[in-house]
Amino acid sequence: MFKTIEDRSANTVEILVEGVAHRVPANISVAAAALLCGLGSVRETPVSGAGRLPYCMMGICFDCLMKINGQPNQRACQVMVAADMTVERQLGAAEFEDL
């Protein structure tokens, strides 16, 4: 759904998105990386289970909540990618023991 406009292959990091290794530009947010990797949704809502993608990219809407390095409820648009980061979709509300 999104692509980069310039060649950024010089400065990349490898991250694990839903268990699959992806090489993405360094210095982008996890939400941007998720869009670049083509995820159809980054979370499923606790109420209806509907899939969502990042909406505002500026920390307001919380539609980008993901599990990052095992920690749930992270606004993926506010976290930068880092080497070997694990990124998972958040399904429903975060479980209590995760917090």
């Binding site: 759904m1 406009i5 982008i28 990219m57 920390g59 919380f62």
Partner: protein, 441 residues
């Protein structure tokens, strides 16, 4: 951390000899910057100047607590700190005004600002069929920037209501001191026309349609001057929505600053004097976070607040303040002169502010406008009651996204002015913080 005054040193910083060279270098180096243009570089220069001024700067910090005693709880990395200040300058900026249309929660629908952030910060652009819909300078600017980046825009769906332009004509004269803004707007409109992008005007009934993700966008549009509307349905992979920006007032609210509803801008504004001083004389609220005034005016207002607090702290005297502030005030007023025209021209259409019953208002708890109206029929008279009744505003975003829509729905249904309806209260934590991070405080 021992910072007592949270502001940039207010005395004018001499333009750095290196600034110009640096700007040229950086513009040449990045294709992204060529697309984003001069304004982006200006912002970078502001940052450079701040760094030169010697104040402490903490990046990726998030203020999760603030109270009327000016105690600030801030999360930096995984550590939380408390600082208190004699003077506090809040410059929280703007957020996009929600545009709750049917289907705006579908994957594939995003805020236009999000599209711009992806372009600015990650050099990313939509791939596939792209529609831009809404009203306001930002959507024109984004279309222009996408064109510069070689992105194909399948249509521009303009929701500016009929008559907005002619109604605002009288305000053009007052905007002449800031004619550069008008020329910029014209340049963007011309480029869009020249690129041959289909533009639909005076659009009503905009909705996003799809199952698991966006598939098509439906709307009605008519030619200017004609009553008859035609229905359209365009296939789309990405729909970017926009209807202006509104002040992000969460921190000023937490600090107890008084607010007002501005019926011209259709948003809450923080009450301030010309120095940016709020109802609490020790708290300044500047820039778009107090009232939408644009990037240049916001930066100037920050300088005025800095100068005035320096006076209050005894660092400069009245005469120095007057000398220092005179040119800044003049320039500030010039930049503000474009606002009445822009506010009138791009005043959002009521039908996109107050959605129909089936449309989601609260994206977190999935509450529709109909459920909010039902709560009002059952006796709720303000957003805080609606919140406890429906959970609207109780989700992770804490009403940051839906707050103004909820108040507008209540105001319309009860026929009460917004100042009486009020806004959602804010409660700490103002942004998410885990128990672990809190215990590090």
């Amino acid at each position: 951390m021992s910072a007592r005054v949270l502001l940039a040193w207010p005395l004018p910083v001499k333009p750095l000899a290196s600034e110009f060279a640096w700007a040229c270098w950086i513009t040449r180096r990045h294709r992204q910057l060529q697309i984003l243009g001069k304004d982006f570089v200006k912002g970078r220069l502001l940052i450079e100047r701040f760094k030169q001024a010697g104040g402490s700067y903490f990046s990726e910090a998030s203020v999760w607590f603030l109270d009327e005693k000016r105690r600030v709880g801030v999360l930096i990395g995984d550590k939380s700190y408390f600082v208190s200040a004699d003077k506090l300058v809040l410059a929280t900026g703007a957020q996009e005004r929600p545009m709750p249309i049917p289907g705006w929660e579908l994957p594939g629908v995003m805020a236009a600002g999000a599209g711009q952030i992806l372009l600015k910060s990650a050099g990313m652009v939509p791939d596939g069929r792209l529609l831009l819909a809404g009203s306001g300078p930002l959507i024109l600017l984004l279309a222009y920037q996408y064109l510069q980046a070689g992105v194909k825009i399948d249509a521009l769906i303009d929701t500016t209501p009929q008559g907005a332009m002619s109604r605002s004509f009288g305000k053009l004269f007052g905007a002449l001191p800031a004619a550069d803004y008008l020329f910029k707007g014209l340049k963007m409109m011309l480029a869009i026309r020249r690129a041959g992008i289909p533009v639909y005007h005076h659009v009503e009934g905009l909705s996003a349609v799809g199952g698991e993700k966006l598939e098509t966008v439906r709307f009605d549009s008519g030619k200017a001057g004609f009553k008859k509307l035609t229905n359209y349905e365009l296939p789309a992979d990405t729909l970017l929505l926009h209807q202006g920006v509104i002040p992000n007032i969460r921190l000023p609210l937490a600090a107890g600053c008084d607010i007002d509803w501005d019926a011209g801008q259709e948003n809450w504004t923080v009450k301030t004097d010309e120095w940016g001083r709020s109802s609490d004389a020790d708290i300044y609220v500047v820039g778009d976070g107090s009232r939408i005034s644009g990037a240049e005016a916001s930066a100037l207002q920050g300088r005025l607040a800095g100068m005035h607090s320096a006076l209050q702290l005894g660092k400069i005297n009245n005469a120095e303040l007057e000398d220092l502030s005179r040119p800044v005030l003049k320039s500030y007023k010039r930049h503000l002169s474009i606002r009445p025209f822009l506010d009138s021209c791009y005043k959002p259409s009521p039908r996109y502010l107050v959605p129909d019953d089936a449309t989601l208002v609260c994206r977190c708890e999935e509450i529709t406008a109909g459920e909010i109206r039902q709560a009002v029929r059952l006796g709720c008279t303000g957003p805080n009651q609606v919140k406890s009744f429906t959970r609207c505003g109780m989700g992770p975003c804490q009403g940051g996204q839906c707050g103004s829509t909820v108040s507008l729905i209540i105001s319309e249904q009860l026929g009460k002015p917004m100042d009486e309806v009020g806004c959602l209260r804010v409660r700490p934590p103002l942004s998410p913080i885990t128990l672990g991070q809190l215990s590090e405080a």
